[in-house]
């Protein structure tokens, strides 16, 4: 309850934007929710751009990261620790930070409260969506068959967005994240349709952002990765012969090798 009263200013802001989109812009309530969601996500785009840059920078370190993952294959704790250390040392980090995620929750809860208020005291104007396909967005999702359709789209979009967001997680965690949204359907069925619309929109945005990110960050090709790792192996027998002279060579050669690979990648982009 305390949390709800903290959120009331945010609730007011959201309600005003929604009323403005409905009244002044003339959108039906459902589309007003979609536009509001897009506005919230647009505010967060700079964060996504920041992460894309970080992922691009990380591509150059792919071989080393793969080596760490391979070395600590059976020790999850140690692997995460070593990877995080590596990210820090190289000033890259592909994982999404928690804070921007947290910022979304109050918006989500406030919108839930606004829509709950709407369903208790329905506002004037068009409450249907797609010309009556969804008759009332303030009703619970299980009130009409279209609600179930929306829920199906929600589950699909949720799975897709989890797929894009959980790339840095390990398998068991990822599986759990995939199962939970389905398990939540019985709860979400009692949510107002408008909230499901918000959810679907924000998920689809995540998916779109994920696709764009993937295109901007090309997956490192396995062959060049191997080639950058092979030279040290080839150098090993030579170090057996003359220790001092050849020990300098790999040091001199190694920086040149990754640079060549990086140049190739840039040219491809």
């Amino acid at each position: 309850m305390i949390l709800f009263s903290i959120l009331s200013p945010l609730e007011d802001v959201l309600r005003h934007i929604l009323t403005w989109l409905n009244g002044t812009v003339g959108l039906p309530w459902a589309w007003a929710i979609v536009v509001l969601t897009v506005m919230v996500r647009l505010l967060m785009v700079p964060l996504a751009v920041k992460q894309i840059h970080s992922m691009q920078a990380m591509q150059a370190h792919m071989p080393e990261m793969k080596a760490i993952q391979q070395r600590y294959k059976n020790d999850k704790q140690k692997r995460n620790e070593e990877l995080m250390k590596f990210y820090r040392d190289n000033r890259v980090n592909p994982a999404a930070p928690c804070l921007p995620l947290l910022v979304q929750f109050p918006v989500f809860i406030a919108l839930y409260l606004v829509l709950r208020q709407f369903s208790r005291h329905p506002p004037g104007g068009n409450l249907s969506w797609f010309g009556g396909l969804v008759p009332d967005i303030t009703a619970h999702a299980n009130a009409h068959w279209s609600g179930y359709l929306l829920l199906a789209i929600y589950v699909g979009s949720q799975l897709a967005s989890t797929y894009f967001m959980s790339t840095t997680m390990d398998k068991t965690q990822r599986t759990m994240m995939m199962i939970l949204p389905v398990a939540f359907v019985p709860v979400i069925v009692r949510f107002p349709v408008g909230l499901v619309i918000y959810w679907v929109t924000t998920n689809l945005w995540t998916v779109g952002q994920g696709i764009v990110t993937r295109q901007m960050v090309p997956k490192a090709q396995p062959p060049p990765k191997r080639s950058s790792r092979t030279p040290p192996k080839a150098d090993k027998p030579s170090t057996d012969g003359a220790a001092e002279a050849t020990e300098e060579k790999p040091v001199a050669e190694q920086p040149a090798q990754p640079r060549r690979v990086r140049r190739k990648k840039r040219a491809r982009r």
Binding site: N93, A95, A96, C98, Q158, T162, L180
Partner: protein, 82 residues
């Protein structure tokens, strides 16, 4: 610390677990740090009690932003409360 005095921090830990299986699952994301922010919160609450645990977890969340570097950061390594 006696068990009774630890009760508030258990409440906090329960809330973190509740978050993990509800909002945390519905809004997928990662964490820049190891251990993750939610695990850090649990550790901090367990080791430093409710008030200091919440402060430590809050500070960690603020650090888990797009401009920080992330890395390895355990609750017992904190330097806020000595």
């Amino acid at each position: 610390m006696s068990q009774v005095l630890r009760l508030p921090s258990y409440l906090g830990i329960a809330l973190v677990y509740a978050y993990r299986y509800t909002l945390g699952a519905l809004f997928p994301g990662g964490c820049k740090y190891h251990p993750s922010c939610s695990q850090y919160a649990i550790d901090a609450l367990r080791e430093y009690g409710l008030v200091r645990g919440v402060i430590l977890a809050g500070w960690r969340l603020l650090r888990c932003n797009p401009w920080s570097l992330g890395g390895v950061d355990y609750a017992h390594q904190q330097r806020l409360f000595k």
